[in-house]
Amino acid sequence: MLEIRNLHAKVEDNEILRGIDLVVRPGEIHAIMGPNGSGKSTLAGVLAGRDAYAVTDGTVSFEGKDLLEMAPEERAREGVFLAFQYPVEIPGVNNSYFLKSALNSIRRHRGMEELDAVDFLALIKDRMKLVDMDQSFLNRPVNEGFSGGEKKRNEIFHMAVLEPKLAILDETDSGLDIDALRIVADGVNKLRRKDNATIVVTHYQRLLNYIVPDFVHVLVDGRIVKSGGKELAITLEEQGYDWVREGTDRVAVG
């Protein structure tokens, strides 16, 4: 589904991603962990097409297509979804109106009929249950005045409505209380299918108890320095990142 090869990207003059390789197949959940500033959000941003980043080398293919060639909205319509680490507020724009426009532009792109108000309402009612979201959030402006946790939950609600093929969740767990964490993780699990995939960026092993990853990758200084199964997250939680850092040095030296 997603194939990242030797991806390099910079912001202004700083090279942030320094050769990322990652393959995600349908049905898989990948967790990406790594210290602050290591480039996790940058990777997510590059995949979503944020233009602050310049790709200097490497390729990314998504379902056989060159992802880097596509405009951000095209990527979204093709099925790439990013749950933002810092969701953006759009004053005055009703959350459900926003979602309806988004969903319909995705459907148009896929040659599907647009949903009318009635069908859309039925759909979002169903999806709201999935993330246990209160109805009142539908008619409030997108993220405006939402608490930190509410914003994160709203991201997953968007995801539930838009049903992406590849979802990238950038620290969706940060800021969630214990109950919300379980609800959000539950939602993600329910949305899991054989033909979609999820990349979860997180700092905490805790989330991975709920969303059980097939692979865990450790990103340090713009490179994936270690990959493993879910037990890797536990080791990281116990030993911190120095352990992998040392590991890379050894690899680099030896």
């Binding site: 969701p87 953006v88 759009i90 005055g92 926003f98 426009s101 988004a102």
Partner: protein, 481 residues
């Protein structure tokens, strides 16, 4: 409003234009302005002597005035002797079908979602419409008449209801009020007259009527609305369809009078030709609009969406004379490309417990310059007067400008005046967020801009709010990549 009601209204309006056309031969007089021209205009309209005198007095005063230079706009000098001051309504060349209409115009109609029938009408296609709807329209007109509501062209009112016109004309905007108002008073061509008698609530928006009518309004339009004690009317001026006019200068005057417990809601959508991308052509829209809350508990609300014209110079105001009276001003003004807008309001608090609300949303894009200019004046006797003003500016790009000129004069210490202002730029973050959800840049900008204007759109009649939103989108086309 249900679709049916709306359709009925539309049909009614279509018919209405026949009722509105005044019987003047199609001819013009030579360019230039002098007393003879004014006499001629007045004679052509078969006006009573007092009205001619009123015009002449205005003209003599106008000659002593100089064109205002204080607005934050620049334009080439207007040659007032190079204008034709009287011309009969232009006869539109009748087209056979929409195929003959400029595709660019059709595209805009489509984007605005104007029904096909109406598109034909607007574009001047000979509509052999099913005029069996005449009966419906007649019912409407009869209903208004039964209620004692007078709604007709200004010229007609001069003939049919001279006592009312004489009583109220110039009672809110005196003929010598300002340069453009004086000019209008001297040469006004036509306009609308609306009178709602005591205790009558006008049962329909006098909106769609006007929307069609607006097509033939002249350069110097004059509108007078009077709401007697306890009356209510919602009035809508303008049209979202692009309005092209070869006349460059538009100087209209609108006067509103509200007596005890009366309420008038006046909404405008202005979409005159703004000129091309480089600022060539376009309408100069210099308008004087003022309402007088003459009675206690009366209320006048101005809502405007100004997207057209090369230059807009306009300050719909309210004189709050009656105790507990309320004035409101809700405005969206857009300046794209080389457009310049200097608009705002004046709220003059005279009576006790008077309240006013000002919500101004200025959008600047391209090289557009947008100025809010507002005066809140609390006179000595205005005990416990309250004003709240909120002026927000939104910038698209970095070559445009937003300016705010709030003037506050308070002469009564029991009053309270609040002013809030903000300027923001459409954020890259916001646009990226929208795109990440699948929306195009254009849709993203539309959405953000419409969100910004929400508090104003909320004040518009429902179906018009929808059109106004689309209109903003069309007007902003191409302003963000």
């Amino acid at each position: 409003m249900s679709t049916e009601t709306r359709e009925v209204e539309e049909l009614a309006n279509r018919e209405y234009k026949w009722g509105f056309v005044t019987d003047v031969e199609s001819e013009s007089i030579p360019k230039g302005l002098n007393e003879d021209v004014i006499r001629l205009i007045s004679a052509k309209k078969k006006e009573p002597e007092w009205l001619l005198e009123w015009r002449l007095k205005a003209f003599r005063h106008w000659q002593t005035l100089v064109e205002p230079r204080w607005p934050n706009v620049t334009y080439a000098k207007i040659d007032y002797q190079d204008i034709v001051y009287y011309s009969a309504p232009r006869q539109k060349k009748q087209l056979q079908s929409l195929d003959e209409v400029d595709p660019e115009i059709l595209r805009t109609y489509e984007k605005l979602g104007i029904p096909l029938r109406e598109q034909e009408w607007l574009a001047g296609v000979a509509v052999d419409a099913v005029f069996d709807s005449v009966s419906v329209a007649t019912t409407f007109k009869e209903k208004l008449r039964e209620l004692g509501i007078i709604f007709c062209s200004f010229s007609e009112a001069v003939q049919e209801h001279p006592e009312l016109v004489r009583k109220y004309l110039g009672s809110v905007v005196p003929a010598n009020d300002n340069f453009f108002a004086a000019l209008n008073s001297a040469v006004f061509s036509d306009g609308s007259f609306c009178y709602i008698p005591k205790g009558v609530r006008c049962p329909m928006e006098l909106s769609t009527y006007f929307r069609i009518n607006a097509i033939d309004t002249g350069q110097f339009e004059r509108t007078l609305i009077v709401a007697e004690e306890g009356a209510y009317v919602s009035y809508l001026e303008g049209c979202t369809a692009p309005q092209r006019d070869t006349n460059q200068l538009h100087a209209a005057v609108v006067e509103i009078v509200a007596m005890d417990n009366a309420r008038v809601k006046y909404s405008t959508v202005q979409n005159w030709y703004p000129g091309d991308k480089d600022g060539k052509g376009g309408i100069y829209n210099f308008v004087t609009k003022r309402g007088k809350c003459a009675g206690v508990n009366s209320r006048i609300s101005w809502t405007q969406v100004e997207t057209g014209s090369a230059i807009t110079w306009k300050y719909p105001s309210v004189l709050l004379i009656g105790d507990n009276s309320v004035g409101e001003f809700y405005s969206v003004a857009l300046a794209n490309h080389r457009q310049q807008a200097d608009t705002g309001t004046k709220m003059i608090h005279i009576g006790k417990n008077t309240r006013s609300t000002i919500v101004s949303k200025g959008i600047s894009a391209g090289f557009g310059q947008n100025s809010y200019r507002g005066l809140v004046e609390i006179k000595k006797g205005a005990e416990n007067a309250r004003n709240f003003s909120q002026c927000d500016s939104l910038l698209l790009g970095d070559k445009c400008g937003a300016h705010t000129f709030p003037y506050i004069e308070v002469k009564n210490t029991t009053s309270k005046v609040e002013h809030e202002a903000s300027t923001s730029k459409i954020g890259e973050d916001q646009i990226f967020y929208c795109k990440q959800r699948g929306l195009s840049a254009e849709d993203a900008v539309n959405m953000i801009v419409n969100g910004f204007c929400k508090e104003v759109f909320r004040e518009l009649p429902m179906e018009f709010a929808v059109e106004a939103q689309k209109l903003l989108g069309v007007s902003l086309e191409g302003s963000v990549g």
